[in-house]
């Protein structure tokens, strides 16, 4: 930052969070909006890149850590959450953000998602949901509509009702649950900011259109609408979801409870751990 003006308007610092790597996402991908919002949120919160760690699984959206200047770890498919949880409990001073897509998070990593909601480690989980496996060229994911026939693997549709991530998170007792839209990056930045500041497990489902395999999702712009009012009442949140068309945005549920923080007093140092890995002849 050079000028006084740049110092006064903090969000002009969003560029400090963008790396020099060019995203390999398709032109027009919703994930560009997510990257844009995330860098703005981190600038608005005045985070230091060296104190943020972004952990991702596998998939188009899981590439996002590479496009930022924060620390990143590209883990195995569906395992962003356990990796992020391990880091968050061992380095509580860091801001830990797990990222991924609907396949990575709700199918391969579905079990981890449930237990991360219950465990309530202090971290943020951003899922870029486009209801398709994009990186493997367009197969149905857990959130795909049951009558989608766009893949030769499911030519007559999946015949399975799509998974509802917000209902699942609420049932599994996640304390912060929200939905946002990638094409509204400023509102998305607001929700991300609240999620990152929340003390505990904060889950944000981000509707992020896949322009290549689900071009009809460009119509989401007309369907997305604000509507959730944050509540700490689970029954009220379930009631709100019973009327949900899948396109309501906002913070659905925010009910702080003590985050899981294991006692660090018995922490074993690295030298002790290394002794267990000694190679003996």
């Amino acid at each position: 930052m050079n000028s006084a003006v740049e110092k006064q308007i903090r969000i002009l610092g969003h560029k400090d969070f963008k790396s020099d790597y060019k995203p390999v996402w398709c032109a027009g991908c919703g994930d560009f909006g997510v990257l844009n919002a995330l860098t703005k949120a981190m600038a608005a919160l005045e985070l230091e890149p060296e104190n943020v760690a972004m952990i991702a699984g596998i998939g188009c959206s899981s590439r996002i850590p590479a496009y930022t200047t924060v620390y990143g770890f590209h883990g195995v498919h569906g395992r962003a959450l356990p990796l992020a949880a391990g880091l968050a409990v061992s380095r509580p001073e860091l801001t830990v953000i797990a990222t991924g897509g609907d396949g990575d998070g709700f199918s391969i990593g579905g079990n981890h998602f449930l237990h991360a909601c219950r465990r309530n480690v202090n971290m943020t989980y951003l899922v870029m949901d486009n209801s398709v496996y994009g990186m493997t060229k367009g197969q149905a994911s857990p959130t795909t509509e049951c009558d989608w026939t766009g893949s030769k693997l499911s030519p007559q549709g999946t015949h399975q009702p799509p998974l509802q991530p917000l209902e699942l998170a609420l049932a599994a007792r996640a304390p912060f649950i929200a939905r946002a839209f990638s094409n509204s990056p400023n509102e998305l930045a607001r929700i991300m900011t609240e999620a990152i500041e929340f003390e505990g497990f904060a889950f944000v489902q981000i509707l992020s259109p896949c322009i290549t395999f689900r071009p009809e999702q460009l119509g989401w712009k007309k369907r997305v609408h604000e509507g959730f009012e944050p509540t700490d009442d689970r029954a009220a949140a379930f009631a709100a979801l019973s009327d949900d068309d899948g396109f309501t945005t906002g913070i659905l549920y925010r009910a702080p409870r003590p985050a899981f923080r294991p006692d660090q007093r018995d922490r074993v140092d690295i030298e002790t751990i290394e002794k267990h890995f000694e190679v003996r002849s």
């Binding site: 006064q8 308007i9 398709c26 844009n36 893949s151 030769k152 400023n186 322009i211 712009k221």
Partner: protein, 172 residues
């Protein structure tokens, strides 16, 4: 804090509008580079450079404002839509888009910026804001006219411009 009521807020909007326009053009240029579309990449890079120049001009105006600028958060800016009006629409892009399409996208963005300033100039009761908004609207109008002339130099692409002999179809 409304840009039509507070000069600091107006100037903050002007700086961020150009900043976000430049950022978006660079995102689009990067996407075109990745998809081996060098002509459109070069064009978006040029548009980003123009936005950088306008950003510097907006900062110059802002630095002359003694009252300082408000530190607005992204969602506190009062844009007419979901994003600042000069940010080219992401969903209007395609990896095979031609310079004609890129210039159309830029034209839409510049028209958005003109409408934004023009609306403030019409609505505000604050003479200094009106003066600056009229000045900025006039500049955006010039950009619109320049882009229209530029577009006229490019033939409209054929209907099958997005045909791909090796399309990203499902492989299963």
């Amino acid at each position: 804090m409304s840009p039509s009521k507070d000069l600091g807020s107006f100037l903050a909007h002007a700086v961020v509008l150009e900043d976000e326009a430049a950022t978006r053009y660079r995102e689009l240029a990067d996407a075109m580079a990745v998809h081996n579309n060098p002509d459109v990449e070069a064009l978006f890079c040029k548009m980003a450079e123009y936005s950088d120049m306008h950003r510097a001009e907006a900062i110059e105006h802002a630095e002359q404002h003694a009252g300082g600028l408000p530190d607005l958060k992204p969602w506190e800016f009062e844009w007419p839509g979901d994003e600042s009006p000069e940010s080219g629409r992401l969903e209007s892009t395609h990896y095979l888009m031609t310079p004609f399409h890129a210039l159309q996208l830029a034209l839409e963005a510049e028209e958005g910026a003109f409408a934004f300033y023009n609306e403030i100039a019409t609505r505000t009761n604050d003479p200094p804001i009106r003066k600056l908004a009229e000045e900025f609207a006039a500049e955006e109008k010039q950009h619109v006219e320049a882009l229209k002339k530029w577009i006229a130099q490019y033939p409209e692409p054929p209907e099958n411009w997005d045909d791909d002999l090796d399309p990203p179809v499902p492989v299963d």
